[in-house]
Subunit: 211 residues, 2 copies
DNA sequence: TAATATATTGAACATTGTTCATAATCAACC
DNA sequence: GGTTGATTATGAACAATGTTCAATATATTA
């Protein structure tokens, strides 16, 4: 058989990703197989390989879509210029997103590209956009000219939240009294940001501004 | 064929784990298959299932062994009671271990137990022992009676380091100017600990000791 | 209408984890 | 030593995975 005019290439790409998203939401990474996606869209497994290079490709695109989605979700947060408060608001929204998309979101850190392959540029760009939200919240701490330091701090915070979420999700962090992810994340945010502020204060004292 | 008296149950268990470790060191989680382990020890795949419940079981035991190994490695660090300095020493040793055991160590966070299974108690105990090292380094910050807060902070730090390592390993954190894991981890440690200390100071000021 | 291009297929391959009847060996007893 | 019985390793077999590709059915063009 061949050549149905049900969908063109682009449409196929989109409905396949939608199907993948649907499966991922309920079954997670392990349930996300080529055959299931193919079944879901009413095409054969082989067809997927005309649209995606391989399953890793499809998964990366699904993750990228998810990054976009979270970005839109978090971009609605209106901060007031206080890093700790603003980050707590962002965290709250982040957690709300997580709760509705657990299995989908976990794919973000469960999936690992083979060592010999690296992430495409458009992926890195989407990620940078999301990190921009954290950078923005942290920016009041850093004087102009220290944008790199701010970006690094945002990445540290981002990765740390990942770690917290990942380990508590996997049950690899049985805490003293069953602390929730949110509680631990707030400890992280409060202490980390306070530390950043303290560091800046120390720099100001040691090297006073030149007028 | 059957019943060779080459090895008893316990020996089989040990040489299988050794073989798994060897494979894991060079090929990581994806290369760690039942057939490869069986080949390596000169037995058939089926034999593995007389010794381990399944591959997840074997992998959990491999991870536990690795936790033990890292504990012994890190326990040799002699701190001086300054949390930041001590944690930096621990970090240095941790990184040294990582460098020699990259693929093995990554299994720790790459591997995910199916949702319906939870980690055995002896695993949690080994993990707690390792966390004790961080708790110990943090302990000067906390007054007695706040052991739980100390334990929570240690867990936050541990998970955060995981996140940093995991994302930088996966190339999912392309930093501004190619910061190394060590640089980012030091930012985390310094800021987080400063924040903890600052928080304690604030508590002391607000609620002065009762004599 | 005929020829050409192309999209879809699904059977096929190599690998996975895992199971289990079979067979080989050891231990005990006569 | 021989027979029996329990135990243990086996490897073929199964289902499921990602992936490939010759065959084929349909659109498009001439």
């Amino acid at each position: 058989m061949a050549r149905r005019s049900d969908h063109n290439r682009g449409e196929l790409h989109d409905i396949a990703l939608s199907a993948a998203r649907k499966i991922a939401l309920t079954e997670g990474l392990k349930g996300l197989t080529a055959r299931k996606v193919a079944d879901e869209i009413g095409y054969s497994p082989g067809t997927l390989y005309n649209v995606f290079g391989d399953m890793d490709d499809l998964i990366i695109q699904l993750i990228a879509q998810t990054l976009d989605e979270l970005y839109i979700y978090l971009a609605s947060v209106r901060g007031e210029g206080n890093p700790i408060d603003d980050l707590k608001l962002i965290l709250e929204k982040y957690i709300k997103y997580l709760e509705g998309h657990r299995n989908l979101w976990n794919i973000l850190f469960e999936h690992q590209l083979p060592n010999d392959r690296s992430l495409p540029d458009w992926y890195t760009i989407k990620l940078a956009k999301l990190l921009g939200i954290i950078e923005n919240a942290l920016s009041p701490i850093f004087p102009s000219g220290q944008e790199d330091a701010c970006a690094n701090s945002a990445r540290v915070l981002w990765a740390s939240l990942h770690g917290l979420n990942s380990l508590s999700e996997a049950g690899k962090m049985r805490t003293v009294s069953a602390q929730s992810f949110q509680e631990l994340a707030e400890i992280l945010i409060v202490c980390f940001v306070k530390g950043l502020q303290q560091t800046q204060k120390e720099i100001d004292t040691t090297m006073p501004e030149v007028h």
